[in-house]
């Protein structure tokens, strides 16, 4: 079989196809994609730096106007999503425990239940799921709100009144989303760890609560807490910057808002996954 497959790949038609020059249209297509990607990265980077600059430079400017907005956005991206996150934490505990308990019991490795919960829930699924849920519930709404405001000329109205649109519209969302994502991640992970034990208990796993939490404590390190905090804050910051960038940073017509929303959501997902991969590398390198 192996010889046959090698022969078929080494056939004259295949060799002919492999030696053909790449069609120019394909090169152009890939070039355009790459160019657009680089422009987007440049735009996002510049927007993120501008936002950070405004946060620090105007920290004390118009506090009576901007800080209530920050609290509003924190409540919107955090507190109001709590019921959803409690439901998701219960589900996450069920999913992870339900899948692993039977296998761990079979191989006699039930003592690793806590370690698996730390590796899967605390380090990976918890932060990533938090980011994706915040993106779905608040990030998409951000693009629509800001894109509509942009299309209706509200941003120009702010500028005409001498109000910095980044300070008034973006800063509260960035701080609120970072703080909200961080808080929700804490609740999601705690909920998943507790519900995980409850599901294990219901499956008659011979594991006492004290032993389960001892396993969790042993598997956790100081680095985990630091990485979790940094990861979710950066996730929240990135989602807010990407969604605000697509809603605000370029002139939009009303009919373009839906496309901007799709672009922002896709780029946010990619950015979160890439960032998550970066954190995995840091974990592996430690």
């Amino acid at each position: 079989m192996a010889k046959a497959s090698v022969t078929s790949f080494d056939s004259p038609p295949v060799r002919f196809v492999l030696r053909m020059p790449i069609p120019r249209s394909v090169v152009h297509y890939l070039g355009r994609k790459l160019f657009r990607f680089l422009l987007t990265v440049q735009g996002l980077g510049a927007f993120a730096l501008i936002t950070l600059g405004v946060i620090f430079r105007k920290f004390r400017t118009a506090r009576q106007v901007v800080w209530p907005l920050v609290f509003h956005e924190t409540a919107r991206a955090g507190l109001r999503l709590l019921p959803l996150f409690l439901f998701m934490s219960a589900s996450l505990g069920l999913v992870v425990i339900g899948q692993t308990v039977s296998w761990l019991t079979k191989v006699g490795a039930i003592n690793y239940l806590g370690t698996i919960m730390v590796v899967v829930v605390v380090r990976e699924l918890g932060p990533l799921l938090t980011a994706l849920l915040v993106l779905a519930r608040i990030g998409a709404a951000n693009v629509i709100e800001l894109g509509t405001a942009r299309a209706l000329g509200e941003v120009e109205a702010l500028e005409a009144l001498g109000i910095d649109p980044v300070h008034y519209l973006v800063v509260p969302r960035v701080i609120g989303m970072a703080a909200g994502a961080f808080s929700l991640m804490v609740y999601l992970i705690l909920g998943a760890l507790i519900s995980g034990y409850l599901w294990a208990f219901l499956q008659d796993v011979p594991l006492r609560p004290g032993e389960y939490f001892r396993q969790l404590a042993e598997a956790l390190s100081g680095l985990d807490f630091a990485m979790l905090a940094i990861k979710t804050l950066v996730f929240g910051f990135m989602i807010a910057v990407i969604t605000c960038y697509h809603g605000l940073a370029q002139p939009l017509r009303l009919e373009e808002v839906s496309y901007a929303t799709v672009r922002a959501v896709a780029q946010s997902v990619i950015a979160c996954v890439l960032l998550d991969a970066l954190f995995i590398i840091i974990y592996l390198a430690k």
């Binding site: 506090r63 009576q64 120009e156 009144l161």
Partner: protein
């Protein structure tokens, strides 16, 4: 700043009011595309206590020109000074100069997520760092003066366009500007609203009790007729040029086909 603090003296010794807007060979772009020339070669001076009306057909670039004058985009070419300061002003240090100018958009462009009261109070709160409660009385005064009291707690989407425009006017006035730019303020209004706007602008120009001092006005329009006997200086935008016509008598005497159109005089065929 010399332009605003001193009264200029001409060679004949007659004092003239200080220039508020000075444009020399200015070209303005478009809000959709900053590099597309909308109007060019503009040489225009607005003095304190002037009342200008700029006429032009729809699509002639009035809104973009006013947006450039309002500092929303830089001039493509030429020199533009506002109260003696070079425009555009984007830096914080010179912001107070820019805030001496108010801009009212054609459709109001209110913030849809805020109520009318919040819309009107926002610029004052932002620049003075005040809470909603602290500006309540001041905002109420402006709302009452513009007959917006009954709509104070409504959002813009619940209001007709004419009331939205009034709210936008109140929002611009709350910062007590010396110069007010109004983009087609009477477009699409019924006669009652039209008369209210014309009367209110007259009061602003003379010195409304809200501000206690006269306001310099620059208004754009697609119909010159309502401004007869009200505005003092007229100009038109045509073929990407700003042509200063002068007083109403000079407008009526102008033989331009466009002026006739803006006066809605039936053309001889």
């Amino acid at each position: 700043m010399a332009g605003i603090t001193t009264i200029a003296k001409s060679e004949t010794g007659v004092t003239s009011p200080p220039a508020i807007i000075e444009m020399r060979e200015v070209a303005s772009g478009s809000m959709r595309d900053l590099n597309t020339v909308g109007v060019e070669g503009v040489n225009w001076t607005v003095a304190a206590h002037d009342y200008w009306v700029i006429g032009g057909l729809q699509g002639s670039g009035k809104s973009d020109f006013l947006a450039m004058t309002g500092g929303l985009m830089p001039p493509l070419r030429g020199e533009y000074r506002l109260f003696g300061e070079k425009m555009p002003i984007f830096d914080e240090a010179r912001l107070p100069t820019r805030l001496r100018m108010g801009l009212v958009f054609e459709t109001g462009q209110l913030f849809n997520h805020l109520t009318i009261r919040e819309n009107v109070g926002l610029p004052f709160r932002y620049h003075k760092n005040l809470s909603k409660a602290a500006v309540f009385d001041r905002v109420s005064t402006f709302l009452e003066a513009l007959e917006l009291g009954p709509f104070a707690d409504s959002t813009p989407g619940a209001l007709a366009l004419n009331w939205q425009k009034r709210a936008a006017l109140a929002r611009a006035l709350i910062l007590e500007p010396d110069l007010l730019l109004l983009d087609s303020p009477v477009f699409g209004l019924d006669l009652r609203q039209l008369n209210w706007w014309l009367g209110f602008m007259d009061e602003l120009w003379r010195g409304h009790k809200l501000l206690a001092r006269p306001v310099t006005l620059v208004v754009t329009t697609a119909d010159l007729r309502p401004w007869r006997g009200r505005a003092h200086q007229f100009a038109i935008l045509r073929e990407r040029k700003l042509s200063v016509l002068g007083t109403w008598q000079q407008v009526e005497a102008a033989s331009s086909e466009l002026v006739s159109e803006l006066l809605t005089i039936e053309q001889k065929r």
